[in-house]
């Protein structure tokens, strides 16, 4: 077990380093884009004086390394700052309006909770579904069922997300009004209302991620079916279902867990298109909007959240595969 703890410690350390690198890269990348926050905000009305005034207010006139380290010191104290858009608006007038403006953390928290909710609902549908289809496909490999499962999941993963989304809207919202086509969830809704509103985006994402997980499950199991211990089990006269679920699956878990973790990370970080189509108030839209107006504090915070999600899910996958494999669990 010490071994696992050491791996976790090492990986967390590397994770922090990765996030530091990510923040530098994102900061430089956003700065390399043409135009800055002042110009993006003012648009047509960007007179040199107005641009200079906003830059001065927000500290954008300072050199790039000063700005980066100011931000970094804040983050180390868990202060993600105030978004440029809010900071700028609060300086609009002498009224005490500024006091009411939240920080970046306040802005991201509810959005991130929504994103996690969508990811959780999707995972609750997609993971059992793809495991089941994967096992069945391995069990009845090369049968009609296997072929249909393969073709249909591959078709859905090959179609662009927005296309899958609109097909689902057509089928489940227009022709048979089962689910609403708008997923504008908010705090005033109870769990079942939220669930109902989230169903269409969750189903869309399920169609997008199922193929990957299902095919990995199938392949990992089929790989093992040629091994001698499976032969042995078969000779004992066990049923094919029992062989697969109790003998093959535990040994195939490591690669499956890895694929599931990757897909979960995707559900958190890569669902902007689905959010836009269903008007889902997740963190992806906030991120895209912020990049558009070069609102660096929000962009940076979103990136850190995304990076943290990837790193921790990958770490979780590695730990799980170690735990599921006695050879790795108890090294010589």
């Amino acid at each position: 077990m010490n071994n696992v703890a050491m791996i976790i410690g090492k990986r967390l350390g590397l994770g922090v380093l990765t996030m530091f690198m990510v923040s530098i890269i994102i900061f430089l990348a956003v700065n390399m884009l043409p135009g800055d926050f002042a110009q993006a905000l003012l648009g047509q009305s960007a007179t040199p004086e107005a641009v200079a005034a906003i830059r001065k207010d927000l500290g954008l006139d300072k050199p790039i390394h000063t700005r980066y380290f100011d931000w970094l010191i804040g983050v180390m104290q868990f202060d993600f700052g105030t978004s440029f858009a809010k900071a700028n608006f609060s300086s609009y007038g002498g009224t005490a309006a500024a006091a009411n403006f939240g920080t970046v953390a306040d802005q991201i928290a509810p959005r991130f909770a929504n994103t996690l909710f969508l990811a959780a609902v999707t995972a609750a549908i997609a993971v059992p579904l793809s495991l089941l289809i994967g096992v069945l496909a391995a069990l009845y490999r090369y049968s009609i069922f296997d072929r249909i499962a393969n073709i249909s999941t591959l078709t859905s993963i090959s179609s662009p997300e927005f296309f899958v989304a609109y097909v689902l809207i057509l089928l489940l919202a227009v022709l048979n009004p089962v689910f609403p086509s708008l997923s504008n969830i908010h705090d005033g809704m109870d769990f079942t209302q939220k669930l109902q509103k989230t169903m269409l985006p969750a189903l869309t994402l399920t169609l997008v991620v199922t193929a990957h997980m299902m095919r990995m499950t199938r392949a990992a199991i089929i790989n093992l079916l040629a091994s001698p211990y499976i032969e042995m089990a078969r000779l004992k006269g066990l049923s094919p279902f029992r062989i697969i679920v109790f003998h093959a699956l535990p040994n195939a878990l490591a690669p499956i867990i890895n694929v599931i973790a990757l897909n979960l990370a995707y559900l958190i970080t890569g669902v902007v298109v689905v959010e836009v189509v269903f008007v889902y108030p997740g963190v992806g839209q906030l991120f895209v909007d912020s990049v558009k107006i070069r609102d660096i504090p929000v962009v940076q915070a979103c990136c850190l959240v995304f990076a943290a999600a990837y790193i921790s899910l990958n770490l979780l996958a590695d730990v799980m595969s170690i735990l599921s494999n006695p050879r790795l669990r108890l090294p010589k």
Binding site: L33, P34, G35, Q39, A40, L42, G43, Q44, S45, A46, T47, V51, A53, S83, A85, K86, N88, F89, S91, Y92, G93, G94, T95, A96, A97, A99, N100, F101, Q107, P110, Y166, I169, A173, V174, P177, P180, S181, L182, N184, H186, G188, V276, V277, F278, V279, P281, Q285, L286, D289, S290, V298
Partner: protein, 515 residues
């Protein structure tokens, strides 16, 4: 506006001419109270607040001046200026002193009663130290504000302005409760017919009927209004088609036909003041020569642009910035048509046999600007004008290309009054005069029109100014772009919607009702 009034006058006389409500709507079917109105609106931001000084896009304008707050005056669906919190107003003969009589018995959502102090405090918000309000120039033109009584305010202007009552209808100048402004900005407390229930910036806003409103019977018919930010154009259309919302703004031109085929969806399309332009910097040759500018104006096929870029959802422009939603729009001014021979003639006048120019375009200037440039290139070649299209990046377009490249693409949403529009972008020496063009006659007419209270005289002045822009100006205005919105038949309106701004001037919550 003139155009609109005439169309409507016919309507009015046919119906009962006298039956006009306070907002100036013809009384058709009697409006019903109650029901929920859900709008899918573009233009929301996570940085939105109830501070009307910062409102710049449809989401907050509709929620601010369109629901929660009120302004002194408003432009009705018919395009007339009517009072909202002001009952009446009058000017001194030189248009320098304006006296506003305020409505009595008006209450804010928190119970405070409305009076002259609130008007003065709300106006002062725009000129506070460090304030960056877009309405600052309007209020800065006021020399002194005097409270004559609890319900009468006098504005002493620095120079005469006949448009002053129009200017205070601006959606930035909402009336806040004096002494409680910070609280009102935090929670959205105004005098409007709806009060705030929930507000998530960049996501949604929810308001319910304010029962103590001074005109609760005649404005704000809905029991509640929910507004959802839907940034994506197809998602908005989709939300309307699946009955998730009752109305949407900014319908994508490509979806209009599709939506129109639905029996329970109405398209609301108006030609307002929004226009696309190609400004030339007259400080650069060859644009310093008026004959070259005229040649370029005759070398553009305006109708083709309207048909192909706007898919017919617009009207041809006439090289001046005044639109059909303006009071003194000269609709009978002779239209400059595509005429390669005339273009050649003016080139010859300029001593040229052919012309090579660069036109900087980007879809950041207006949607379809690159294609519009290519149409211009094509129509120009028949007149011996070789237009070289330079594609610029959309990012930073307004900082790096507009006002910098000799000839580029641009757009203006237009202004409610002629003086406001001209003095924003055509007056000599103003920062947004995007051509640098100056004309003595134009400038003196501008000054004369500003303080002129006689409407027929003003009409003539502004007509001449539109003509001067067309003949001598340095801006090619090929087209006006329509506002295209849509609603389901679950909500109804008087049969007429305003054309100053989208969705009935963004006042649909106050004016429409549940079917």
């Amino acid at each position: 506006m003139t155009m609109n009034i005439s169309r409507r006058t016919a309507l009015k006389t046919a119906a009962a001419a006298g039956a006009l409500s306070v907002t100036g709507m013809p009384a058709m079917a009697a409006p019903k109270h109650g029901g929920t109105y859900t709008i899918g609106m573009s233009g929301g931001n996570t940085s939105d607040t109830w501070d009307s000084r910062t409102h710049s896009d449809s989401f907050m304008i509709n929620m601010g001046a369109g629901c929660v707050f009120e302004t002194l005056t408003e432009v009705s669906s018919a395009g007339e200026l009517v009072g909202e919190l002001a009952e009446s107003w009058e000017a001194s003969p030189d248009a320098k002193i304006w006296t506003f009589n305020l409505r009595k018995g008006v209450k804010f959502h928190n119970g405070k009663s409305f009076g002259a102090d609130d008007v003065i405090a709300s106006m002062n918000m725009h000129v506070e130290e460090g304030a960056k309000s877009a309405a600052k120039p309007i209020v800065a033109a006021v020399e002194e504000m005097k409270k004559l009584s609890d319900h009468q305010v006098q504005f002493m202007l620095k120079s005469g302005s006949a448009d002053f009552p129009y200017l205070v209808s601006d959606y930035h100048i909402c009336i806040f409760p004096a002494g409680q402004i910070a609280e009102a900005i935090a929670n959205g407390i105004g005098t409007g017919p709806y009060k705030v229930v929930a507000f998530e910036p960049g996501v949604r806003a929810m308001v319910t009927k304010f029962d103590d409103h001074w005109d609760a019977d005649n404005r704000g018919y809905f029991a509640e209004v929910e507004q959802i930010y839907i940034g994506d154009a197809s998602a908005r259309v989709n939300a309307l088609m699946t009955s998730q919302v009752d109305a949407i703004n900014r319908v994508d031109f490509k979806s209009v036909k599709l939506l129109d085929a639905y029996i329970n969806i109405d398209i609301i399309e108006v030609t307002g003041n929004m226009h696309n332009t190609f400004p030339m910097l007259v400080g650069n040759a060859p644009y310093d020569d008026v004959n070259v500018r005229r040649a370029l104006k005759y070398a553009v096929n305006r109708q083709e642009m309207v048909d192909k870029i706007l898919l017919g959802h617009g009207a041809v422009g006439n090289d001046h910035p005044i639109g059909p939603a303006n009071q003194y729009f000269a609709s009978d001014l002779e239209q400059t048509e595509y005429d390669p021979d005339k273009a050649k003639f003016y080139l010859k006048e300029a001593g040229l046999s052919s012309l090579d120019v660069d036109l900087s375009v980007s879809d950041g200037a207006f949607a379809g600007a690159v294609d519009a440039g290519q149409l211009y290139q094509n129509s120009g070649s028949a007149a011996g004008i070789n237009i070289n299209i330079v594609q610029e990046p959309a990012d930073g377009y307004w900082s790096n290309v507009w006002l910098k490249k000799p000839w580029c693409a641009c757009y203006w949403s237009g202004r409610a009054t002629e003086d406001w529009m001209f003095s924003t972008a055509y007056e000599s020496g103003v920062p947004w005069n995007d051509t640098g063009w100056e004309s003595e006659r134009f400038q003196s007419l501008l000054m004369q029109g500003r303080a002129e209270l006689d409407t027929s005289l003003r009409g003539e002045i502004y007509r001449e100014m539109q003509g001067i822009c067309r003949d001598e100006g340095a801006t090619v205005v090929p087209m006006y772009q329509n506002y295209v919105d849509a609603k389901s038949n679950r909500v109804e309106h008087s049969g007429q919607t305003g054309n100053l701004w989208m969705l009935d001037n963004l006042r649909s919550c106050k004016r429409w009702w549940s079917a």
